[in-house]
Symmetry: C2
Subunit: 522 residues, 2 copies
C-alpha cells in the first residue's frame, strides 16, 4: 500500500477536477482568472427538525491544507500512470509539466466569513478567485473541510443551547468517521464544546483532554476480587483531587452511588474534595435526581453529576423537563440539580445524528474573457432556488435598534449598503417580495466578508489561517446573543432573512433572460 | 498549532484510557494479561429500515495504524504538561517512563474475522489479548476504524444490491467527514463500489479514479460564448475514447441530450465510440427513459447513462420501479435501460445517511490473576441483552444442506462444534429458546476467527494487515450469495440467528449468579 499521507495532500480531490483542469490547459484557459462562490443551500434538519442557524467552521484548517498541498514528482508519477478506456495515458506531459510547476494554491485569493460566525443558507461564505485550473481543483477539499466542520459546529451549538450553561464535553472519537474525529472535535469546540476526550486533537488546539475511567476498570477490579469499592478507592488514591467515579457498572443506586459516597468520605478525611460521579446508562433524569439526593444527604452537595450515553439536544432537553417535573417530589431542587450537571456527548454530536451532511456547494460565478473582462456564469436548472447568484459578492448583516441581527444582505462586492439611506431587500427568488429598511432604523450594517488569503502567498491571512480559539468562541457567543430567540430555538425556528440588494437582483434577472436563449448550438 | 500528524498517532485515543493505564501502572496491573472482545450490538437502521447483515471492514488499516503508532518523546512531553484540578501533573514520571519504553502494540495478540465477511450483532469480530494498559489504550482507535469502515461497507453493500449489476461509483469526498472520505472510499470498495472519484485513495488501493466533468465546465464555456455544445466538443476532442457528457446544465432534453448526440455523431465519424451521458438533476427515471429513447433513435444504444444526485438504495430501487412502469409507454425496454445505467453515489453512501454510526464496542472479558489464571469479567447492567459473553471466544458459521448460512455460533475458543454430532444453539438472552441441529443436516461448520496479529510482532499477519482487494471482494460476494434472500432484502429482513454454545451459555449464567452478590463493599 502507498503511504497514507498521499491521500491527505493535493490528491485529496475528485478525478473530474483533474480531467477538467487538463481540458482547460489544452484550450489555453487554465490560467484564466475565475471566481467561485462557496455557500450552502439549507440548514441541517435533524430527523425533520430544521436548524435556524449554522455556525461557520473549518476555514483555518482549509487554509493550512492549502498552504501545504501542491503537486510534486510523487503525485505526477501516479497521474502519469493513469490510462483511459483505450489504454492511452489520461494526462499528457504538457499538462503534467504545468501541474508540477504551477500546481499549488499560491495564486488563489479568498474572501471569507470568519470561523465562529453565525451563517445562513444562500450567502457566500467564501469567494474564491484564481487561475481556473487550480481554483477548480480546490473544490473537493474546500467543500469537504467546510461542510463537515460547519455541520459539527452547528450541531454542537444546538447541544450547548440545551445544556443551559452546564459544561459540555465531546466524547465521540470511537464513533466518528475515521479521522473526522479530529476535525470534528475542533469544530465541536468552535460550536460550543468546552473540552474533548480526544487526547491528540486537544493538545493540537491547546485544551486539556478530559476523562476519568470506564466500566472496564471496575470490571477488572471485580474480576480480581477487589469489587467496585476497590476500583473506586484505587482511583481516589491515584487522583485524589480529580476524583470522578463512574457508578453504573453494577447497580447505580444500590452499589455505585453508595460506594462512591464511602470513597468520597474517605477522601475528605484526607483533605481532598471529590469532583463527582458519572451516570452512563438507565433513566438519566430519574437516576440523577436520586443520586443528587443521596449525595446531598451525605454532605456532597457540590459534587458534579456527569451524564453520558446517547445524548443530544433533544435528549438533554427531555432530561431537564423530567427533572423539573419529578425532582421536587424527591425533595431535590431542580435548578440546583440542573446547575450541577455536566454533559459528555459522543456519537450524536460527532456524526451530526439525524442529518449527517451539510449541502455546501462551490459554484463558478464568473470567468474573465481574453480581454480580462469578467463574464458572469450561470447554471439554469429546474428550480429557481438553485440559480446561483452571479458575479463578485459582498455580504452584510443588518442589526435592528435592539442590536439584533434582522437580515443578511447579499450584494455586489463594490456596493456600500452601509452608506445608503434606504435599503431594498429582495427575496432571492420571488419576484414581488421586497422589504425596505431605513438606515436610521438600523443600529449597524456590518460587512461579513474579509480577505482571508492573498493571491501570491501560500499562507492565509493571520486570524484566518490559525485563529485563536478564544476569538472564535467570542464571535460565536456574540452572534448567538444577537439572534432573535425565535431563530435560535431548537424546534420550528423562525426563518432568518437572507436577501439580495437591488443591484444583484437586477443582474440575476438579466442573466436568466439572456441564458434562456442558449439551446442546442446556442 | 502543533503538526496535524500528532492527532493521527498514538494520541488518537481518549484521555480516560491514559488515566486508567496510569492507575494500572500504579497498582502493578499494567502488564497483567487481559482479554477484550470487539463486537457491535445492532445492525444500522436507516430511517427505521434495519439492515439484515453487515460487511466487516477496517481491520487492514487498524493493523497498519497499530504497527506505526507508539509513544515517543514528543507524546510524552505533551502528557507531562497536563495538569489536574489542583495544578499538579496528571501523569507521574514512573508511568511516563514505562510508556516511553513499552508504549506500543507489539505485545497485543488478535484473532479476527477477515474483512469482506458478512457479520452480525453480538458476535466477536475481534478478540484482543495483551498487557492490560496497552490493550486498554487501543480501544478508541480500534472502535473508530472498525465502526466506521464496517458502517460504510454495509451501506455500500445495500446500495450495490439495489444497483442490480450496474457499475457503482463512490462520489462522496465533498460531503464526507473530513479524512473519513478516504477510509470511507476504501470501505465502499470493500462493500461493493467498483471505483471511486477520490484520486488519492484510489491510487493507494490500486484502482483507477473515475470522473469526467462538472457543470462548471459547461458554464465556463457558456460564459465565454462557446455554449454547451462548445464545452461538449472540447471534451470530446481531449478525451475521444472516454467521452461521457453531463447533460443537465441548461436543459436536459431540449439542450443537453441533443448536443451530446451531435458531438457523439462527430466523434463516431472520427472513429471513436462515446461512453455516454450523465444525469445529475430532475426526475432521473423519467429523464433516463427519454434520454435512452433519444440515444437509441440516434444509433447510440450502447451509450451508458450515469445517474447521480442524492442516490441511495431506496432511491435507486424507486428509479428501477418507475422505469419498469413507464419505459414501455415510451417504447423503451426497461431491462435494456436498467442494463445501461451506472450509479454515482455520494453523500448518502459516505455518511451512511439515515444511520451515521455503528454501535461497536470493546469490552473487557477476562483478566489474569497474579497466578496467571484467567478470571472472566462481567458488567451487570439494566438489560440482559447488554451482559457481555464472558471468556475467550470462538465463532463458527453453520451452513445448511443448500450451503446457505443458517446461524452463527459463539462459543468458547477451545470448543470444536464441527466435531460434534448434535449442536445446541442457545438464544443469547432468553432462557428457554434453544435450537438443536444434527451435524448431518449441515454442509459445513466454518470457524470465522483466525490469528490476525501475533504477540511480539508490531505487524499484523499477512492477508490481514494488507489484504488484496480481490480477496476481500471475493469473500464478500461469496458470503452474500450464501445468505438467505430473506436476510438480504432491503426492507424488513429476516433476523439472522446468532446463538451461544451450551458451554458459553452455562458460563454466562454462572457469572451472572455470582456477580449478583456484588453490592457495596462486595
Amino acid at each position: 500500500m502507498l503511504e497514507r499521507d498521499l491521500g491527505r495532500g493535493i490528491l485529496f480531490t475528485d478525478q473530474y477536477q483533474l480531467t477538467m483542469a487538463q481540458l482547460y490547459h489544452r484550450m489555453g484557459l487554465h490560467e484564466r482568472q475565475a471566481r467561485f462562490d462557496h455557500f450552502f443551500r439549507s440548514y441541517p434538519a435533524y430527523n425533520g427538525h430544521q436548524a435556524g442557524y449554522c455556525v461557520n467552521a473549518g476555514l483555518g484548517w482549509l487554509l493550512d491544507w492549502m498552504s501545504r498541498s501542491r503537486f510534486t514528482e510523487r503525485e505526477i508519477a501516479l497521474l502519469r500512470g493513469q490510462t483511459g478506456r483505450g489504454g492511452e495515458p489520461v494526462f499528457d506531459e504538457g499538462f503534467l509539466g504545468w501541474l508540477l510547476e504551477n500546481g499549488s494554491f499560491d495564486g488563489i485569493r479568498m474572501r471569507s466569513v470568519p470561523e465562529g460566525r453565525v451563517v445562513h443558507p444562500g450567502e457566500p461564505l467564501n469567494t474564491v478567485q484564481g487561475p481556473l485550473a487550480m481554483a477548480q481543483i480546490l473544490e473537493t477539499a474546500l467543500l469537504n473541510q467546510l461542510n463537515f466542520q460547519t455541520l459539527i459546529a452547528t450541531k454542537t451549538a444546538r447541544i450547548r443551547q440545551s445544556c443551559r450553561g452546564g459544561l459540555l464535553l465531546e466524547f465521540g472519537a470511537r464513533r466518528a468517521h475515521d479521522l473526522g474525529a479530529n476535525a470534528g472535535a475542533r469544530a465541536a469546540v468552535i460550536g460550543g464544546a468546552d473540552f474533548s476526550s480526544n487526547v491528540g486533537i486537544s493538545h493540537m488546539i491547546g485544551l486539556d483532554p478530559k476523562g476519568t475511567h470506564a466500566h472496564s476498570m471496575v470490571q477488572a477490579f471485580m474480576a480480581l476480587g477487589e469489587g467496585e469499592i476497590g476500583a473506586f478507592r484505587a482511583y481516589a488514591d491515584v487522583y485524589p483531587d480529580d476524583c470522578l467515579l463512574l457508578v453504573d457498572t453494577v447497580d447505580t443506586l444500590e452499589s455505585g452511588v453508595p460506594n462512591a459516597i464511602r470513597v468520597f468520605e474517605e477522601l475528605r478525611r484526607r483533605g481532598h474534595e471529590p469532583v463527582g460521579i458519572r451516570l452512563d446508562s438507565g433513566d438519566l433524569a430519574y437516576l440523577s435526581i436520586r443520586a443528587a439526593g443521596m449525595l446531598d444527604d451525605a454532605g456532597f452537595g457540590d459534587a458534579k453529576i456527569v451524564l453520558s450515553n446517547q445524548l443530544d439536544e433533544m435528549v438533554i432537553w427531555q432530561i431537564h423537563t423530567q427533572i423539573r417535573e419529578e425532582a421536587p417530589d424527591s425533595g431535590v431542587d431542580p435548578d440546583e440539580l440542573i446547575g450541577r450537571l455536566v454533559y459528555g456527548v459522543g456519537t450524536r454530536l460527532i456524526t451530526s445524528r439525524g442529518d449527517s451532511a451539510l449541502d455546501g456547494i462551490y459554484k463558478l460565478v464568473a470567468v474573465q474573457d481574453d480581454g480580462g473582462e469578467w463574464i458572469p456564469a450561470i447554471k439554469l436548472s429546474e428550480t429557481p432556488e438553485k440559480v446561483v447568484n452571479p458575479g463578485d459578492k459582498g455580504l452584510w448583516r443588518l442589526y435592528d435598534e435592539r442590536d439584533r441581527a434582522t437580515a443578511d444582505l447579499v450584494g455586489v462586492a463594490d456596493e456600500r449598503p452601509d452608506a445608503e439611506q434606504t435599503l431594498h431587500l429582495h427575496h432571492p427568488v420571488k419576484q414581488n417580495v421586497l422589504r425596505t429598511l431605513d438606515r436610521d432604523d438600523l443600529s449597524a450594517v456590518e460587512p461579513l466578508l474579509a480577505e482571508s488569503k492573498r493571491a501570491g502567498s501560500p499562507q492565509g491571512e493571520p486570524g484566518f489561517l490559525d485563529p485563536s480559539l478564544d476569538d472564535v468562541r467570542s464571535r460565536r457567543d456574540a452572534d448567538l446573543a444577537r439572534l432573535n430567540s425565535g431563530v435560535r430555538r431548537l424546534v420550528n425556528p423562525h426563518r432568518y432573512h437572507v436577501s439580495l440588494t437591488r443591484r444583484l437582483w437586477d443582474l440575476k434577472q438579466e442573466l436568466i433572460r439572456s441564458a434562456g436563449s442558449g439551446g442546442p448550438g446556442g
